[in-house]
Amino acid sequence: MIKLNKLTKVYRTDEIESTALNEVSFEINQGEFVSIMGPSGCGKSTLLNILGMLDKPENGSYKFLGNEVGHLNEKGRSDVRKKNIGFIFQNFNLIDELTVFENVELPLLYNKVPASERKQRVNELIEKIGIGHRANHFPQQLSGGQQQRVAVARALITKPPLILADEPTGNLDSSHGNEVMELMCELHEAGTTIVMVTHSSHDASYSGRIINLLDGQIVSEKRNKLSSAAV
């Protein structure tokens, strides 16, 4: 599904050039659950952003579903993105002015799904992830865990083949964090490909493969035996 070949990203300011990713190459297959780990500043968020086509690589190739996407323009990337990728952020990034229902509905709107179908799909999904009773609440009225569930629901609503999660439990206490991780596992079991950036080896243990980054390079890769090993 994803194939990176010698991918490089350099950040430049007036005087300083810093290499965030240095010739990173790896593949992710359909249905995998991959964690990316590493210390702050190692380039893992940059990598996720490039995978999500929110950012452009400097050099190297990025093939998504067999097509080169690394150098598409914003419109092209936006098209690939909205059909294939769901995002989950550490700080949830819900729109405060929209209700739970409306937040989840948003990607469907942008994908021009008819209203009746939107309603049905959103209701089904939020019911399934246990926030159906909160449909008409605004984000500020929810707990952190609930907000992240909404964010997950929003990422899932278009049934994207790929979910990118940037420290999804980073702002949550452990019990809420676990709820979210279990949700991710369910997704994975249902066949969704997940790439997750995390600091937490606990969270990483849910995944099937862990890629460790340091200073923009992959330093190690490890496969977990059990995809849902942790408690």
């Binding site: 968020s45 952003n49 999500g52 929110l54 950012d55 914003e74 419109k75 936006s78 993105r81 909205k82 995002f87 952020f89 700080n91 990034n93 819900l94 729109i95 405060d96 002015e97 929209l98 409306e102 509905e105 948003l106 990607p107 709107l109 942008y110 994908n111 021009k112 929003r154 278009t158």
Partner: protein
């Protein structure tokens, strides 16, 4: 999708009430001004357009420069209309109008009514101006010599509900007229407004006596240029014998001496806004007010628009996250632009709704000040709404465009990571916009002060006479006029009646012009003549410079005596004027009656200040029609009551009517005063909108710098240091704005002032004052916000993020 935009728009407004209020209220006020100006312009440009074939109707006039006297007036001679009708193939019809410059007592049986505005007109009048007849018809109404046509209201006053047709009315105890028609008031505005029309069948075959207004209606296929050329050719021939008869020179000599005389044609539809000549029927509007009001409306809308742009981009940081999330969820840039434009258009439409309410609220006051009668719910309501919708939509798209493009261009990655660098470009643009905004406000402030200085200058100008204790009373009957000198003592018995006199007209009226010739010189000179009775100069407090006033003991009625004003002496170019003899043209035979110049008085104003002082000649005359009384300041009402009682004994047929002379003259200034008042209101509005925007921007800045303020306070900054920091930037902007505003206003003001014959010197003070005022307004607005931030607990500030 659209529903989502609208929903979010409303929620965003609700969440940011301060900003939303500033935006919406500011725009609502801006739109209110725009709609009012639109209605005003629509009203002002509607003049004459209701007449059938108005585009083919012209008023004739003359433009002359004779013996150093310039005259530009819409007047014409008695035979002109008839010449048009009989000698021109391009003319459909023409009519002659002579206004009656005085209210007239009309009587039907026992019912006496003063009719304000009358006109003597040709029988063709209603063929040129298609009044709608309720009774009678346009063809026949004025055929007979004693025919009168009344407006509906005049007829009702005289006859009640009775059908007036065929009834007899008495004109001023002089003559009976038969009502041959009743017409409705015209459907729209005209440059004249008459309450009755008297048939005028008398003709005087003199082409140099211009006491009438002539209107000519061309045929539909007529060529204006050809007609005008033909008219000039024809009329210049006709005037030649008169030139020889009165000026004793041939037409060639007349022009060879550097004199000029020409006939003009003025499109009827241009009269109201473009005609500012001598002897207008009534004071017309002025196109300059339209330009100024359009300018103000544009400035106010601009100021409100800038508020909108500034506040939206300033708050962009707050919305950046939303943009990021939406982009990540699949929104294209186009979708986001649409969304933000939708928001601004929605705000604009809320403002529009408010604006219509405000217009309806402000209209009575507006009408009161501008002396108009404008309503919102009129024939062109549809057009007004359409116009307002268009302005709103354009405004919404324009004001929303910058934020929309600005916000939608955010890179999702940077905004979601929260490291949106405060864009320098945005801040710079905001500064530029604040400068524009304050430039506009300062222009209005300086303009307002200059307008008021000019108006008060005119008010306090030495007008050459004193009118505040003088009442003017029209004499109505011949016996009263002939015997008035004998009655003076009756009024003077009351010691509060200080002086009694009469004059053929007073300051505030249209003056008359006649021809005079100095003894020993051939040519005649046009001078503005006024016939007065004894004590005229005493009653009006006009200063004698040389010679003597009229004295009853020294004059005989058979020889004329003349008193000139300074300008006349200057124009006649004579030294030692007192004692020289001057001839007055007496009748149709062109003979002159000579008399002595006995005195020179200081110039005094008759007309408004847009006219220079005329060369005036005053003669003593027994039969003049307007009495005036100078009364003591104390017990004015009792004194007037006394005069009324005595007056009614002398003239029981005509109820006593009076006006104060200063009010009569003051009416000439009213248009400018009204304009000034309206300008004041609009300026205040503009300043309020500007200040609101500045307040919003300041509160945004303070909000943005909350953390910085907190840290500074922890490090020991005082409240005043913080305030200083927050206000300094804005003050700089206001000062820069003033640098732009000064020269712009200087040019505009100079242009406006050039409309007056008497102008103030361009003062520096308003500029300085406006700058100070703008600074104070900015300081107060910004400090209020800054004080709140500076006084907050540093802990709150640091916890903010």
């Amino acid at each position: 999708m659209f529903k989502n935009y609208i929903k979010v728009a409303f929620r965003t407004l609700n969440k940011n009430r301060v900003y939303a209020t500033i935006n919406i209220l500011g725009l609502a006020l801006g739109l209110t001004v725009t709609i009012l100006v639109f209605l005003f312009i629509k009203d002002e440009t509607s003049y004459e357009k209701h007449w059938d074939g108005y585009e083919r109707i012209y008023r004739t006039g003359i433009k002359a420069d004779m013996m150093g006297q310039k005259m530009n007036a819409p007047v014409s001679c008695s035979p002109m209309a008839n010449a048009f009708r009989t000698e021109f193939t391009d003319v459909e019809t023409a009519t002659r109008v002579q206004t009656i410059n005085q209210e007239i007592l009309m009587r039907h049986e026992q019912n006496k009514v003063y009719i304000q505005k009358g006109a003597r007109v040709d029988s063709t009048f209603f063929k040129v101006f298609d009044y709608e007849f309720i009774h009678g018809n346009a063809d026949a109404a004025l055929k007979e010599t004693n025919a009168i046509v009344l407006t509906e209201e005049s007829a009702r006053k005289l006859f009640g509900d009775k059908n007036a047709l065929g009834e007899i009315v008495n004109y001023d105890n002089r003559q009976d007229y038969v009502v041959r028609g009743v017409v409705k008031d015209p459907k729209g505005h005209a440059h004249f407004q008459f309450d009755m029309f008297l048939a005028d069948h008398q003709y005087q075959n003199i082409w140099m006596n211009n006491g009438w207004y002539t209107y000519v209606k061309l045929k539909e296929d007529a060529s204006f240029d050809a007609f005008k050329a033909e008219m000039t050719r024809n009329f210049m021939k006709k005037i030649e014998p008169d030139v020889e008869r009165f000026l004793k020179i041939t037409a060639e000599e007349f022009f060879a001496q550097g004199n000029a005389f020409e006939y003009q044609l003025q499109p009827l539809k241009d009269i109201h806004l473009h005609s500012k000549m001598d002897f207008e029927i009534k004071q017309n509007g002025d196109i300059i007010y339209i330009y100024v009001f359009i300018g103000i409306a544009l400035l106010v809308i601009l100021i409100a628009g800038i508020n909108f742009m500034n506040l939206s981009t300033a708050r962009s940081g707050k919305r950046a996250k939303e943009v990021g999330v939406r982009k990540v969820s699949g929104a294209s840039r186009k979708m986001l632009i649409t969304q933000f434009l939708t928001e601004s258009v929605i705000q604009s439409f809320i403002a529009l709704f408010l604006a219509f309410i405000l217009v309806e609220l402000f209209l009575p006051g507006f009408n009161n000040i501008m002396e108009t009668n404008i309503t919102l719910f009129n024939d062109y309501l549809g057009k007004t709404v359409l116009f307002a919708l268009l302005v709103t939509l354009v405004y919404g798209l324009f004001a929303g465009s910058y934020p929309a493009f600005f916000l939608s261009a955010f890179q999702p990655i940077s905004v979601l990571k929260g490291d949106l660098t405060k864009t320098k470009g945005g801040a710079l643009l905001r500064k530029a916009l604040v400068i524009i905004q304050f430039t506009a406000s300062t222009i209005l402030i300086i303009g307002m002060i200059i307008i008021f200085k000019q108006i008060s200058f005119l008010h306090n100008k030495d007008i050459g006479f004193k009118g505040d204790q003088v009442i003017v009373v029209p004499l109505q009957t011949d016996p009263m006029t002939e015997n008035f000198r004998n009655y003076k003592d009756i009024f003077l018995k009351n010691s509060n009646v200080l002086s009694v006199t009469r004059a053929s007209y007073y300051p505030g009226d249209n003056p008359n012009q006649s021809m005079f010739a100095l003894e020993g010189r051939e040519e005649q000179l046009p001078l503005w003549n006024m016939e007065v009775d004894y004590d005229f100069f005493k009653t009006l407090d006009i200063e004698l410079l040389e010679g003597r006033k009229f004295e009853i003991e020294k004059e005989s009625d058979s020889i004329p005596y003349f008193i000139l004003n300074e300008t006349a002496v200057k124009n006649l170019n004579i030294e030692n004027a007192v004692g020289r003899r001057l001839g007055r043209y007496t009748g149709n035979d062109g003979s002159l009656q000579y008399g002595n110049i006995i005195g020179i008085v200081k110039d005094f104003h008759i007309e408004g200040f847009n006219q220079p002082i005329r060369p005036m000649i005053l003669t003593i005359e027994k039969n003049v029609w307007f009495a005036s009384f100078k009364i003591a300041k104390n017990d004015m009402n009792a004194t007037i009551d006394y005069i009324e009682t005595e007056w009614n004994k002398l003239e029981p047929t005509h109820p006593f009517r009076y006006t104060f002379l200063d009010q009569k003259f003051g009416a000439l200034l009213r248009q400018q005063e009204n304009f000034g008042t309206m300008f004041l209101f609009l300026t205040i509005l503009a300043i309020i909108i500007s200040a609101m925007g500045l307040y919003g921007l300041a509160s945004y800045t303070a909000e943005q710098r909350t953390k910085e303020i907190g840290i500074r306070k922890v490090l020991g900054a005082s409240v005043s240091q913080i305030m200083n920091m927050l206000t300094k930037d804005f003050i700089k902007l206001v000062l820069v704005a003033n640098i732009f505003a000064w020269p712009i206003t200087y040019l505009l003001a100079k242009n406006w002032l050039s409309n007056f014959s008497y102008q103030i010197d361009m003062p520096l003070l308003p500029y300085v004052f406006a700058t100070l005022l703008a600074l104070i307004i900015a300081l107060i607005t910004v400090s209020f916000q800054a004080y709140q931030s500076a006084n907050s607990d540093p802990v709150d500030a640091l916890k903010y993020e």
